[in-house]
Amino acid sequence: MALQQIAGLKFPARNSDLVGEKDIVDDCLNASFNLQIPRFCDPVELLKQYSENEDSDVKIRFDHGTTTLAFKFQHGVIVAVDSRATAGQWIASQTVKKVIEINPYLLGTMAGGAADCSFWERVLAQQCRLYELRNKERISVAAASKLLANMVYGYKGMGLSMGTMICGWDKRGPGLYYVDSDGTRLTNYMFSVGSGSTYAYGVLDSGYRWDLNVDEAIKLGRRAIYHATHRDAYSGGVVNLYHMKETGWVKISQDDVLDLHYEYQKEKQ
């Protein structure tokens, strides 16, 4: 990529004689072309001893604490996420960016392992750009989500943890796909992912209509995340809200849930 050229790094050719110490960065860059198996015998067995299910001193705990949602309506797609990262009971951060800007007309959300989501969505961004260059037209949301689902399916059972929603606008109109690390890929008009998703669904389902106007839809998305953060201990921080339009995505707002709490309370009176 660009950094490679600027830094003057030289990576060994793929079929080089340098067996053994292959460049790790090269592996990552070409990850989507070759299936990269972790370099020990059986990754599933080896990782099991470190996952939190077994009695082990070393625990790799994946942070699924999150609430993300997205829904289609007549004027596009609204994407709303919280911003809290937890490591067990500890709040590691309140300012995580859980919406990944793949390109100006494709957004991805993050739930599960942060590294898994941001890395694979960055590889997806690379693949989308290559598609554009080869075919002289933008990639469709269906194709982009299929690329991601297939990439991740190759690593099924090896410990990836990712629950993402791919949102965009292509020639078929607004598109919304749910892709996760087991290889599931679904399309629907509304999804919510994460530990707080059930609470978000409650507010979304009772307030949703296809013919909401932009303002009402934004308020609904914001409200749903707020209610999820109120009930779910593992969600919180700020609500980041994006609107996917025909011309691409626009970041609408960032609101602290504590402020929203007092605002909604006042409204009730």
Binding site: N150, Y153, K156, Y178, D180, D182, G183, T184, R185
Partner: protein, 213 residues
């Protein structure tokens, strides 16, 4: 929590699958189609592990299309089912087994309509009617009671409706919509989604007005 139903009639196979796609306790999609078209007159319904179903179904479908392109004619239902079973069995003891349960229904000019039932362990059997999932516990006896050879399309749909009603009556999971397709000589026909027939309160036996006893 998924349910697939297949019924072989005189010269058609009726296939239905519930339309809920769920993850843990959440129903993420309520109009999900679990049936995949393998060729003009071959339909496969698949349930099981999330990514495996779609990946395996698409792999089989593409290979069947490839056969057609290479040879100029479609694989017979029996051959396609055997090919599918062989793939399931071969992958079973590999590091990436496919955890999918299948029903394959098809129409040939030589054998007529056929239904094959396959499970994730690679076993296969030709059946007049087959069910996958917890729904089978409730529905197989209904099929045993009311199924006859050489049913017409209407009779098969009535039988299917009985099955769906029984699932709705007794199964704890709410499966309130089924996608339905028919495979016959003309190809694959998409039917209207079937829902359980709603019973009016007067029809439920034993309900009375709220008198204090």
């Amino acid at each position: 929590m998924e349910c697939l139903i297949g019924i072989r009639g005189k010269d058609f196979v009726l296939m239905a699958g519930d339309s809920v796609a769920g993850r843990s306790v959440v129903a993420m999609k309520k109009d999900h189609d679990k049936m995949y078209q393998l060729s003009n007159r071959l339909l496969m319904a698949a349930c099981g592990e999330g990514g495996d179903t779609v990946q395996f179904a698409e792999y089989i479908a593409k290979n069947i299309q490839l056969y057609r392109m290479r040879n100029g004619y479609d694989l017979s239902t029996k051959a396609a089912a055997s090919f599918t079973r062989r793939n399931l069995a071969d992958y079973l003891r590999s590091s990436t087994p496919y955890f999918v349960n299948l029903l394959i229904g098809g129409y040939d000019d030589s054998d007529g309509a056929d239904l094959y039932y396959m499970d994730y362990l690679g076993s296969m059997v030709k059946l007049p009617f087959g069910v996958h999932g917890y729904g089978s516990f409730f529905v197989l006896s209904v099929m045993d009671r009311y199924y006859k050879e050489d049913m017409t399309r209407d009779e098969a749909l009535v039988l299917l409706q009985r099955c769906i009603d029984e699932i709705h009556e007794r199964f704890i999971i709410n499966l309130n919509s089924f996608k339905v397709k028919i495979v016959d000589k003309e190809g694959i026909h998409v039917m209207k989604d079937l829902r359980p027939t709603t019973k009016q309160p007067e029809e439920t036996p034993g309900t009375q007005s709220m008198d204090i006893v």
